[in-house]
């Protein structure tokens, strides 16, 4: 049973992390390149939401659960929110327009990280598999697009920056693919189901 005091501490920690990411110095550093914004800022903001999920009271989780069987709803919510902030237009706007930036800093933790963290333990083997393969495919698709596009997709970033992001995404996609392949070859499938059950039981 999770203590309310611990929950409050975790929530405070998440808030502090968000504020730290919002300080002009850090924010500027995370926006200097397209790669930093896509591969550091986005995941860090999602991470704040994941942290925040640890502070959710059990009552709330129990109430959400019937609306989120197998974690599907949360997965859909997180996917759409992340796709939205990956639009090249939004990469520009979140730097250039303060209001859009606020929306990004609030919605990525609350609509992507938080629902994803709540849902991941509920996902079965198939849902996780589909999610991981789609994630890897997205890294390959976008990586290739950024690598070969002769045009700048963001007005704020240079073409070679975009191409570097493409290379990074292809590399990350390859690493993830190897990881999944390794799991399929040498991993024990029943561990996934157990892991989900254990996570549910621990809550």
């Amino acid at each position: 049973m999770r203590g309310t005091r611990l929950s409050a501490r975790i929530a405070l920690l998440a808030l502090l992390a968000l504020l730290a990411l919002a300080t002009p110095l850090v924010k500027h550093a995370l926006e200097t390149s397209m790669a930093a914004q896509m591969l550091l800022q986005l995941p860090l903001l999602i991470g704040v939401g994941v942290l925040l999920s640890r502070a959710l009271p059990h009552g709330v989780l129990a109430r959400i659960a019937p609306w989120n069987q197998l974690g599907i709803t949360g997965l859909v919510m997180a996917s759409v929110a992340i796709a939205f902030w990956m639009l090249p237009r939004m990469l520009d706007a979140s730097v250039a327009e303060p209001l859009v930036c606020v929306a990004k800093y609030l919605s990525l933790p609350l609509l992507a990280g938080l629902p994803f963290a709540i849902s991941w333990p509920r996902m079965g083997f198939i849902v996780r598999g589909v999610f991981l393969l789609e994630l890897i495919a997205t890294f390959f698709r976008l990586g290739r697009l950024y690598l070969i596009s002769p045009q700048r997709l963001c007005n704020l970033y240079l073409l070679d920056d975009q191409q570097r992001l493409g290379q990074y995404m292809l590399a990350i996609g390859a690493v993830m693919l190897l990881g999944v392949a390794g799991k399929l070859l040498w991993g024990r499938f029943d561990t996934l189901a157990q892991c989900g059950a254990a996570a549910n039981g621990a809550r």
Binding site: A65, P66, W67, N68, Q69, L70, I72, T73, V76, M77, V80, A81, A83, F84, L87, P88, R89, M90, D92, A93, A96, R152, L153, C154, N155, L156, Y157, L158, L159, D160
Partner: protein, 205 residues
């Protein structure tokens, strides 16, 4: 029925998400800032602010004094190496192709500097010469005062960033301003044909 509720909730989330994505991409048409800018301008022309410009001859003119003509506007900086040569030669082609309306004072070409500190009138004149200006209907000008450039950038939607070689990169394009002083259409660089076709068509209307 947890599975039905989940289905319902997922659908609702998906619909809301598609709504947001659709709104942000102007109905799934504009995924980049540049496309969004072009669609927005085409649908809702933008008034160009009355900024004071200094031309290659050193004369100061107000943007509003150029009303009554169709203006083809691009943004340049004279130190720009190879790439901008292409832009300059494209404007020279347009100058040739639109020689008739230019002679009748119906069309004017205008290259605006995004580096007004360095682009003095003499630099601008040299730029025109390098770009094979025929000496008629093509102004190169710098906005006076920092605010002048910023106002123009905001109205036209130009984002300028520093590149690795001490120069600039910006969303380069050909901008069409109508005789009422409104930015009405934006064209790709590298293909002058649709530009002069659009100008001739709009002049007939």
């Amino acid at each position: 029925m947890a599975i039905l509720r989940t289905l319902l909730a997922s659908l609702a989330v998906l619909l809301a998400g598609c709504g947001a994505l659709g709104a942000a991409s102007r109905g799934f048409q504009a995924f980049t800032t540049e496309t969004a800018r072009r669609i927005a301008v085409y649908r809702h022309p933008v008034d160009v602010p009355p900024v004071v410009l200094q031309t290659q001859s050193g004369a100061s003119i107000d943007f509003s004094s150029l009303r009554g003509k169709w203006l083809l506007v691009d943004f340049i900086y004279t130190r720009c190496p190879s790439y901008c040569r292409a832009v300059g030669s494209e404007f020279a082609q347009l100058q040739d192709r639109l020689a008739g309306p230019i002679a009748q004072h119906k069309v004017e070409l205008l290259s605006i500097s995004i580096d007004p500190d360095r682009d003095t009138p003499s630099q601008l004149a040299a730029y025109l010469q390098r770009s094979r200006d025929r000496g008629r209907g093509w102004l190169a000008a710098r906005p006076l005062g920092r605010d002048g450039l910023r106002e123009l950038q905001r109205a036209f939607g130009i984002t300028v960033i520093a590149d690795a070689f001490g120069g600039y990169t910006h969303n380069a394009a050909v901008h069409l301003v109508d005789p009422r002083g409104r930015l009405v259409e934006i064209f790709d660089l590298g293909n002058p044909e649709p530009v002069w076709q659009a100008v001739e068509q709009r002049m007939l209307q």
